[in-house]
Every structure is written in C-alpha cells, then in structure tokens.
C-alpha cells in the first residue's frame, strides 16, 4: 500500500476542516498538512447553510446573553465551560472571516449587520444574504489556497483510522479515481467530516452527510456522545427536504396551519406579536417548532399534499424588495422546487432532519479519548449544543473549534514524534476490501438496506419516540447490520466506483444509526430534541448527563453516561416568546 507521510492529517474539508488546516498552517508553516476529503472542498455541506453565524458584536448585546441563550436552548445539556469559550471566541472568528474577504451583509454605515434568529433573545446573527454557509465555505477554501503547506487530497474516501500503541497515527483512504488504497501516516489527525442526516429519509443534508468520520472514531474506540439528539429543522421543502432558512422567519415570516392560524401560540411560544420580532413566536427554538408540527399533524390541522403533510410559511408581508435583498435564495428555491413564488403565495414546509447535535466525544480542546485524534464541527460533540442547537451557532462553531483543532493538532504533532509502522491497519483494511470485492450470493442491495434503515429511523426515532418504536428500530437496525455484512458490490470496477463508496457509507450510517437509536432508548426523559411519549418531562436528577455510546462490533453499543459541566447557569424552565424576560 502506498504510504504518504505528513505531520497532520485532516479528514473533511468543509468549514471546520478548512479552518483547522488554515490554523495549523499559520501556527507552523513548516509542518506538512494533508487535507483529505471525499469531495472537492466547495462541495462540502457547509455550502448549503443559509441563515447566518452568531457572534456578539453589537452594543445592545453581551457574551452572557449569548451564553444563556445557548445553554437554555440546549436544555442545559451543554458543557458550560465550552459554551463560555465558544461565545467568547465566536466574534473574533467571524471577524477573521471578514478580514479574509467574507461578504457579510452590512448596515448603512458599513459595519457588519446582524439579524434575529431562533431562540436568541437579542439579535446577533451575522449573515451574508441568505447564503452564509456558501460564502463562509468559499472564503475559507479560497483563503486556504494561500498556504503552500496545505496539500489537498480531493476525492479520497477515508475508511479507517490507524491506531498504534493506543495512539492515532494516521488514516487509510481510497483514492477514488483509481481505487487504490493509501495510508496517510501522521502525528496528529483531525476529523471534521460533518453530521449524519442521511440516516433519515427526509433531510436537508446532502448525499455526503453519512457520518463517515463519526463511524471511524467510534470503531477505533472513541465514544459517540449524545447521539439521541437529532435536530429537525421546522421548515424544509416537502419531498426534497431542501432547507428554507430560519432567516425567513427572522425577517418576519409566519407559520400557519390549514386554517390559516398561527398555531405556535398553542404551544407556549406566543403571543403572536407583530414586528419587532426578537422574542417572536416563529423564532422559538427548532425543537419546539418541530414538535408543534407533530402535534398539529396528530390533530389533523396540517395540509395534505402529494409529498406528505405540510404547514405554510408565509413571507408575503415582507414585500418583494426585502425578499429580493435578504432572501433571494429562498425565493429561487421555492420557485424551482415547489413552483411557488413566495412574494405572492405561501411556501409549503415541514420539519426535516437537519443537524446532529451528538458526535465524537471531545473535550474543550477538541481532543478525543484517543491520543493524537481531534474532532471539530458537526461530527464532534464538545458539547456546546446540548440537547438542541440554536440556529446560527453551528457556522460559528465550525470556525471556533476548527481553528482550535488545527492549533491543538499542531501542538500535539510537535510534541509527539511518530512511531510505529502502520502495517497492520493497512493490511486489515486491504483484506476487507478484497473480501468485499470477492463477495457473492448476497440478496440485498445497498439501496434496499439504506431505505430500510431510513424508514426504521423515521418511524422509531423521529420527533417523538417511545419504548416500543425505539425497540423495534433497534432490532431492525441489528438485522440490517447483519445483512450488511453479506451485501455484495454490483460494481466491481476500480475507477470512481460510487457503488463501493455508497457501500462504505451505508456501513458508517448503520453504525451511527445504531448509536442514535440505542442512546435514545436508554434516555428515559424528554429533553430538547429528544422527546419520549411515555416520559414527557425533563429529569435532571437522573439524566442531566451526556450519553456515551461505545462500539461493540456486531453487538449493540453499550451506553454509559458522563456529567455535564455546569458553571454559571443552573437548569431552569425553557421559556420563549412573550413569557421570556
């Protein structure tokens, strides 16, 4: 197997991965960096994020406010030391993006503008029209081109971590254009591979969000934390799941059911006040809004369409000029994909899976329990998002912790020269590939197993869960994982074999889904985005803890718990809308 020696290997070239690479390159330009991604960096899913990135810069705001909004938004499952670090660092990182050319939208006087966003009592969301993720990603990618020490390996699919003597010393990857396997030997590895929304059938996430990095770390013995917390974004387009940004509600959009009624006021989010919108109903946190949809659906007050039940997002009252300036992409998407011009008609929307709060367990410095392995971004769980993430915290999170991971990995690499030969991991991976190519006699297809997994997750581990539905899902997943071991390739070629890649991705998704479902089964309370029908309240006595799912091979994961770091903010009731102070 070909071996490529570098100082630091970064897997994933989205916002967090690119930021980590730039931070490492700036910390020490003499170190060689491999930036490994299964897609070209501009295709990373950061590109699809729309609404904005949160950072305190205005006089009417304070770091404490951002801290409190985030901690309560996360239903007190956030590690408060990490949140404190996050809110302190976010403004600097967003400013750094501005200095690198990010085209933030501006106030009349030329300063960066901010807009209201869900669950935030004071507006602090920096935005670049309604394509903030796109602009952040392109700014980071284009900036990364300045650093010669960043060597990119585009369209390399990473399959395994190399672990020697209890330390992570590299990663094995397949060069997609040739099918050959390569071992990247590194002194430090950063995983920044994003979330796993494709485990579910209706999602805003692109094809690539299959939890590959989470699975790699998981299989190498690193626990996955808080996997039961999966965010449904309240406004995705029916059918495609395409995201309609929270920004449309931030600008003044409202949600109505089939009677034209602003139903959120029935769920402790009201009153239905007009402008100004900071504590407005439709800007409640995403978990509450998605849960309200589920209740409306049970009551038969949603609208039936060919692509399932929907409610309506109405932004007509914003007027054509404001829509053109602030929400042009929303208009384009609605027109193209549901044939609706939001200037004149209401947009059909429904909750769709959007974000994975859980992920690779890391500490506040992005380090995992495996020395030499770091993780940042959606694939990681520090945790700053707790049981529910506030909109616009994720784009800020990726640069804050991406930069941190880059610096920490650099420090680790300099302090720990490499050892070991890496031969064993390489040999095992190669043998597995050979076996996969030679397998015959399977009855299942990758697409068939994937669909079964999607259905099981949506049915049993959706917005509302119960013991029965979760048990059923867990056993379906166990069955699917067993059948996966026998699934055969339909494409046995070497050049850009996407059947092979999808097979690997399915394996990652099944492992991640299993962690999600089992973690959900064990958490017998309702908190944030994890709602149990039979345990409707929050149980701070038993469950003010992070879940930790540990890989047990073909067996279900073992679920343990660890404490949440509580410093300044004691758990209280989450109050939104007019009732909030």
């Amino acid at each position: 197997m070909d071996v490529i020696e570098v100082d630091i290997a970064i897997v994933g070239a989205g916002g967090a991965g690119l930021r980590a690479a730039i931070a490492a390159a700036e910390a020490d330009s003499s170190l060689t960096l491999a930036l490994i991604s299964k897609v070209y960096p501009m295709r990373s899913h950061t590109v699809a994020a729309e609404g904005g990135a949160a950072g305190v810069i205005k006089d009417n705001d304070s770091l404490d406010n951002h801290f409190n909004d985030t901690v309560s938004g996360g239903d007190w499952l956030c590690d408060q030391d990490a949140v404190e670090l996050f809110v302190n660092t976010a403004p600097l990182e967003l400013l750094q993006l501005e200095h690198w050319g990010c085209p933030w939208s501006r106030e009349a006087g030329g300063k960066v503008a901010v807009r209201p966003f869900g669950g935030m009592k004071i507006e602090r969301t920096w935005y670049a029209a309604d394509k903030t993720g796109f602009h952040i990603l392109h700014t980071l990618f284009q900036t990364s081109l300045k650093y010669p020490s960043i060597r990119r390996f585009d369209e390399y699919y990473s399959t395994d971590l190399i672990v020697e003597d209890g330390r992570c010393t590299g990663v094995i990857a397949i060069e997609m254009r040739s099918g050959r396997m390569v071992a990247f030997r590194a002194k430090a590895v950063v995983i920044a591979t994003g979330g796993a929304g494709r485990v579910f059938p209706f999602t805003t996430n692109g094809a690539i969000k299959t939890g590959d990095g989470m699975a790699m770390a998981y299989r190498a013995g690193v626990p996955l934390k808080d996997m039961e917390f999966i965010q449904y974004h309240p406004t995705g387009l029916p059918g495609t799941g395409i995201l309609i940004t929270e920004g449309s509600r931030g600008e003044g959009g409202i949600l109505v059911n089939k009677d034209g009624y602003r139903y959120l006021q029935d769920y402790n989010l009201g009153p239905p006040d007009p402008w100004p919108r900071k504590k407005a109903m439709e800007l409640g946190p995403r978990d509450r809004l998605s849960q309200a949809f589920w209740h409306e659906q049970q009551k038969g007050r949603t609208i039936k369409t060919a692509q399932g039940d929907v409610v309506y997002l109405d932004i007509r009252q914003l007027g054509e000029k404001k829509i053109r300036e602030r929400l042009p992409m929303v208009r384009e998407l609605a027109q193209a994909y549901v044939g609706v011009d939001p200037v004149h008609a209401m947009i059909p929307v429904r909750p769709v899976v959007h974000y994975t709060m859980g992920g690779i367990h890391t500490d506040i410095d992005t380090a995992t329990s495996l020395p030499g392995l770091f993780a940042a971004g959606e694939c990681a769980c520090v945790s700053i998002n707790g049981a529910n993430r506030l909109g616009s915290n994720s784009l800020a999170e990726i640069v804050v912790f991406g930069a941190r991971a880059g610096r920490e990995a650099t420090a680790f690499a300099k302090a720990n020269p490499k050892s070991g030969a890496g031969g064993k991991a390489g040999a095992a991976a190669q043998e597995r590939l050979r076996e996969l190519f030679g397998r015959e006699g399977g009855n299942d297809t990758v697409s068939g197993l994937r669909k079964a997994m999607n259905d099981a997750m949506e049915t049993g581990a959706g917005i509302y869960r119960s013991e029965d539905t979760l048990q059923k899902t867990c056993s379906i997943l166990a069955d699917l994982r067993a059948r996966y071991r026998k699934v055969q390739l339909q494409d046995r070629s070497n050049v850009f074999n996407t059947d092979l890649i999808q097979t690997f991705e399915l394996g990652c998704m099944l492992d991640v889904a299993s962690a999600m479902a089992h973690s959900a089964l064990q958490r017998k309370e309702s908190r944030g985005s994890h709602q149990r029908l039979e345990y409707p309240g929050r149980d701070d006595v038993n469950y003010l803890k992070h879940s930790l799912a540990s890989y047990r091979g073909d067996e279900p994961p073992s679920i343990d718990y660890c404490d949440v770091v509580i410093t300044k903010s004691q758990p209280a009731e989450r109050v939104y809308g007019g009732a909030a102070t």
């Binding site: 939208s105 796109f134 697409s447 850009f496």
Partner: protein, 247 residues
C-alpha cells in the same frame, strides 16, 4: 401503467471500454422530479454501476453539472417536466476528459481557479482588534454578483475558447478574480494581473457570451471579463505614460 420517460446516458469505464457509448434506461415520470432524481432511481433500482457526482440537490454545491440534451445544466435543477414525452440525453460536461461515466477530470479547473490568486490581498495588515473593514451596502453590491459562483463548470463546458485552447484560464476563474478586484477591501489587482491580463487570461476571450447564458447563478462571467479587459487596458496605458514607482 404509470407514465415513464426515457434517458440515454453516456457510459464509460476505462477498464473495459475503449470509448464511451450510450445506454438507455426507462424511469418513472414524476412532475416534481429532476434529472438527478432519475439518475438516483437508475442507480438505486436499475444499474448500480452508474457513477456521477452530486450532493446538495439544491443548486449550491456545484457537483452535478452535466450536458443534458446538448446543454450544460445542473442535473438537480433540470426538471423532467420540461422534457416530457421526449428522450433525455445525459452526457458529461464538454471540454473535460471523462474519468468514468458522467464524472469528468476537473484538475485543470482547480489549477486555473488557484492561479488567479482568488483571495483577499489587502493593502496593509489590519489587526483583528481594529474590527471589521467598513464596507457600505453599495460597495458590497459592486462585487456581490461575482461572489455567487458555485464552481459548477457549466461555463467551461459552454465556452468554445476553453474547448479550443486548453490553457485558457476560463470564465469562472476570471470572474472570481474580478470579484476580488472589485472588493473595496482588496488591493491585489496588480498581483493578479500576471495571469488575468495575460494571453491565456482575458485576452483569449472573444466574448462569445455562452458562459453567461448557461450560468445557473447569474454570475455573468462574460461581463466580468469584458470589464477586466477595460481595466487592464487602462492599467497598461497608465503604466506606459507614467513610470511605475514600484514593481
């Protein structure tokens, strides 16, 4: 018997084929489906060996550029309803080598993009402690349209000069250079001029205009290039008439 629609897809496997050839498929017709949905249906149900790039399904990642009925398009933004009753012919983007099926080799594009120094080159170092560069909404508007490029390469497929001269830097790269040149925070026009104002840069362009016609994001790279021709010419004239204080 529900409605169907026919696709002809250009296939190529370098390990078994000497040259590409078309393969026919029949997929369900659905009003709301795009060509990408049809390809996914083929891969999931009919032929898992079909390879193509895609991700976001919302025309923002730029992965899924293909030639559809002789026109460069994003397959996630090309609706079956516009081809109802006919045959949809799907091929990889023109002017790039075919790696496999609908996947092209895009190394040259990535190199060209990097070559124009597509990053902010400010006049002087500005510490973060001084806050943001002030930029008025008008100044942002001046370059905003050129920031919209999703690197989908439809413009390279449409541009005959890209096809005729493989060294031509190309529309997207030149539009990106223009984006930075127009950014009020940037001072890098001279630094970019070596590649941008070279024979393989703007001067290879003969304003065919096909790039802007096919651009799914209305970036208008043709406009960017013609404007750069004027500014480059003015720069050249200024250099001629006044001695440059620095190199």
């Amino acid at each position: 018997m529900s409605e169907t629609i026919a696709l002809e897809v250009l296939r190529y496997n370098p390990e078994t084929d000497n040259e590409p050839s078309f393969q026919s498929y029949t997929v369900p017709y659905k009003d709301e489906w795009v060509v990408l949905d049809a390809l996914n249906h083929i891969k999931d149900n009919l032929d898992a060996t079909l390879s193509y790039r895609w991700s976001c399904h919302m025309a923002v990642c730029g992965s899924c550029g293909m030639t559809i009925n002789n026109e460069p398009k994003l397959s996630c933004h090309t609706f079956l309803r516009d081809y109802r009753g006919g045959v949809i012919r799907v091929e990889p983007l023109d002017h790039f080598p075919i790696e496999r099926d609908l996947v092209i080799v895009m190394d040259s594009f990535m190199d060209k993009l990097s070559s124009v120094k597509p990053y902010l080159i400010p006049k002087e170092d500005k510490p973060l402690s001084t806050g943001e560069y002030l930029q008025s909404p008008g100044e942002l508007q001046a370059f905003h349209q050129y920031t919209q490029c999703i690197n989908c390469m439809l413009c390279y497929a449409a541009c005959p000069q890209v096809g005729l001269n493989e060294d031509f830097v190309g529309p997207a790269a030149l539009a990106l250079a223009h984006r930075y040149n127009l950014d009020s925070r940037d001072a890098g026009r001279n630094a970019r001029a070596e590649i941008v104002a070279s024979n393989e840069g703007i001067w290879e362009c003969t304003f065919v205009g096909a790039c802007s016609q096919v651009c799914p994001k209305n970036v208008d790279p043709a406009a960017a290039i013609q404007q750069t021709k004027i500014s480059a010419s003015v720069d050249w004239l200024k250099d001629l008439l006044t001695p440059r204080a620095h190199r």
